[in-house]
Symmetry: C2
Subunit: 460 residues, 2 copies
């Protein structure tokens, strides 16, 4: 066994899967099941305190589906796991040939609504399950969480600061991406800046201050290097004393024609300290110096701080970057129809207790009021005539992405529009109302008929 950083690369993606996807596919193959089927990706229920999801992760899903393939190394490993030669031969030539429909990234969505709908020969549709769940779970969990933080900050800047405690390298990248989609103004993650074009921000850490003999020496050294954009961390020893020193440095900087950008608070009673620091800065004619706060922040803390404090911008880390109060969504990928021998698609569902699914190929229709505000959604069968605008659009045909992917800025803009059209009562931090999502009459009827039929067949 070689030692490894264990990073997943493009070539390895096909093996980034639960083993059962491969065992099921081996058995589909063995039993000559090659017929098309449709799977829905959806989220079963709302996390506590949330009333909506902000959908993110589609770009990576589509790139994955387009590129998935198996290498000789993969085939060799699977042979050692006992997979037979016929199936392995099939995997060698595997590529995805189906179609994909999806709601666009940056769309507000609700429980049980199909977010991505895949129709393909069943082996192909099955084999892509794990990666899709993995990336949409992460990005939608974080985009949703971050949208709450952005919303509560009422226009004050939010910088995503969580890289050090996000779950590994891929999470570090995807959290930066999805929190930027949700409206954050930037990230501390330099690589996300380079790869995604997200604005990057950084101040200084305690170690910088501590590495000098005196705190004020560290401030002087830092503004020497960054005279036009320094934010000084002032809590290493005492916030108020730190603020006094920062003010002295700022005044000296002014005489050289530069302005101190800000000071950062990272501990103690942030609301109280921020007011004292504001007063101190203002007295010194430093109204332009921004107060930046960080340290165990999330939407709940920020709401409080805005009521009581004098903070201009927030660095939000661990709790947003891990969605700490609920680090996942109940996202699943379920079969909803399959083709029979006659070439007809038949709707199917499961009855597992508390985990039933919606049968048939579906569409989501969203009704809006005259101002464009979201009023209600209806989940219907695909070809039903239902009021409202359909949310799912075709994004892939015969395994190829069929239109230009939106840029990150476009996705971010869509998210902002969607969030602005979601009435405020669905954006409260706690005790949020449930947005109305109905099933169409035809879908209701289908569920009833199918449940009865399944009970006849399976319970006899």
């Amino acid at each position: 066994m070689s030692f490894s950083l264990g990073f997943v690369d493009e070539e390895s993606m096909s093996m980034f899967t639960d083993l059962y996807e491969l065992t099921m596919c081996a058995s589909y193959f063995d039993n000559k099941k090659f017929e098309p089927a449709t799977f829905d990706l959806f989220i079963r229920r709302l996390p506590p305190n949330r009333s909506y999801f902000l959908f993110a992760g589609l770009e990576q899903v589509l790139l994955f589906i387009e590129k998935i393939k198996f290498t000789e190394e993969h085939i060799d490993f699977l042979r050692k796991q006992g997979f037979n030669d016929e199936f392995l031969e099939y995997l060698k030539g595997f590529r995805f040939t189906g179609e994909v429909w999806s709601v666009p990234e940056g769309t507000i969505a609700f429980p049980n609504e199909p977010l991505i709908r895949v129709t393909a020969p069943i082996i192909e549709a099955q084999l892509i399950e794990t990666f899709i769940l993995n990336t949409v779970n992460l990005q939608t969990t974080i985009a949703t969480k971050a949208s709450r933080v952005v919303n509560v900050a009422k226009g004050r800047h939010i910088i995503e600061f969580g890289l050090r405690r996000e779950h590994g390298t891929d999470a570090g990248m995807k959290v930066a991406r999805s929190s930027y989609i949700a409206g954050c103004n930037g990230t501390s993650n330099v690589l996300a800046g380079m790869k995604y074009g997200i604005p990057i921000f950084g101040t200084m850490a305690h170690s910088f201050v501590m590495s000098f003999d005196r705190e004020i020496d560290s401030f002087r050294a830092f503004v020497k290097t960054f005279p036009d954009r320094a934010t000084l961390l002032i809590d290493t020893f005492d916030n108020i004393k730190g603020a006094e020193k920062a003010a002295a440095v700022a005044k000296k900087l002014e005489r050289k024609g530069f302005k101190l950008s800000g000071v950062r608070l990272d501990s103690g009673d942030l609301a109280d300290i921020s007011k004292k620091v504001r007063e101190l800065l203002d007295k010194n004619g430093l109204k332009h110096v921004k107060i930046f706060a960080s340290g165990d922040l999330d939407e709940y803390r920020i709401e409080e701080l805005l009521k009581k404090g004098a903070i201009d911008a927030f660095g939000v880390g661990t709790r947003m970057g891990t969605s700490a109060d609920r680090p996942y969504v109940d996202i699943i990928y379920k079969l909803c129809e399959k083709m029979n021998e006659k070439g007809e698609f038949l709707p199917i569902m499961k009855l597992s207790k508390g985990k039933t699914t919606l049968p048939g190929r579906k569409q989501v229709f969203r009704s809006k009021d005259k101002k464009g505000n979201f009023v209600k959604d209806v989940i219907a069968l695909e070809n039903e005539k239902v009021d409202g605008a359909p949310l799912l659009v075709k994004v892939m045909d015969n395994g190829k992405i069929i239109h230009d992917l939106p840029s990150l800025e476009e996705i971010r803009k869509r998210a902002a529009e969607n969030l602005s059209k979601l009435p405020a009562k669905y954006k409260e931090l706690k005790d949020t109302l449930r947005y109305p999502v109905k099933l169409s009459p035809k879908l209701e009827r289908l569920i009833k008929d199918l449940t009865e039929k399944l009970k006849r067949v399976e319970f006899s």
Copy 2:
């Protein structure tokens, strides 16, 4: 902007950092601060319900430090961010030249104990901070969580099943690795099997069952492909009806000389259903068929199920794979000493409210009783004479790993030994006792003296 799967590769690692590491380093450079300094990686406090940490992630830390470098692409990007040419020239030739001490992976640790100690020219020691925090946070959080799951299962097999809701691709790999270190018996993650040699397991999903006209057809098809190792998922429509069909299939399989491995329950009242299914299987002479349970499991649920149910093995997913009740540890990396102009190392600390640090170059000493059980730890200055065995060992010198890295199996064995030597009272799921960790008299004295000195200097 190109579209991207956004995976981090070995070459990109140096840019996987918070911007402030680079701005601080630019200012260290600008102010000609090249002196050596020491940083401690440690965890500030215990998460709720935990009384220890299981340390994991060192292998990736060391490989990262050995390999970190900056490419032309990185330098170009940083130039556009405003970094000056002298500093960028320095980065072009950057490599880590310092020494690293660490507790071995798979060691039990406690708050405030240095887990990794880095001594290097301050720019080098600073620049590696973010990645170290990122990977040790993830792996230690998960290893700790998984060790609780393994401990409460009292020898019943635990398979890590969380790939679909772990945070991205790197988390998928590192969760498999760290939960295996903690004693899990395997993972569903095929790539983790291939890259890390971890045993892989898989059953079937509901979609497989639903893709056949009747549930029993799906069971027959699956055992046809895997006659000697099939585990059938029996809850798609009704657990008990499913168990009856599985029993019928198992009996027929027996006549062909094969044994059904197991059945899987994934919904409903698992304790109650497992007892009924056990009875049904036993009545049919199928005592060898194991009952495997999955679905929203964690250590708390498993403790309950073991009291009331008849379950042989558990698939544990999201809640373990995200450490859902606390998806992070309060891990930090702090400066504790620096060299002065005379070439002497001077201890340093910060006083931030609720976030003070321990000064000086330290070692952790662990005392054991005659049976080898852990009794108490003392955090002391490195060269102090203190009872107990030192935990930190030198693992890197002049930027090179100085001894063979242990294999994953060796790390797993160390973890099992460590966990077995930690008295049971520290392994309760709730209301756990605090393990005694003391500061040595010399360290106490140093903190007192230094606090007084810092207050004199900084508060005047």
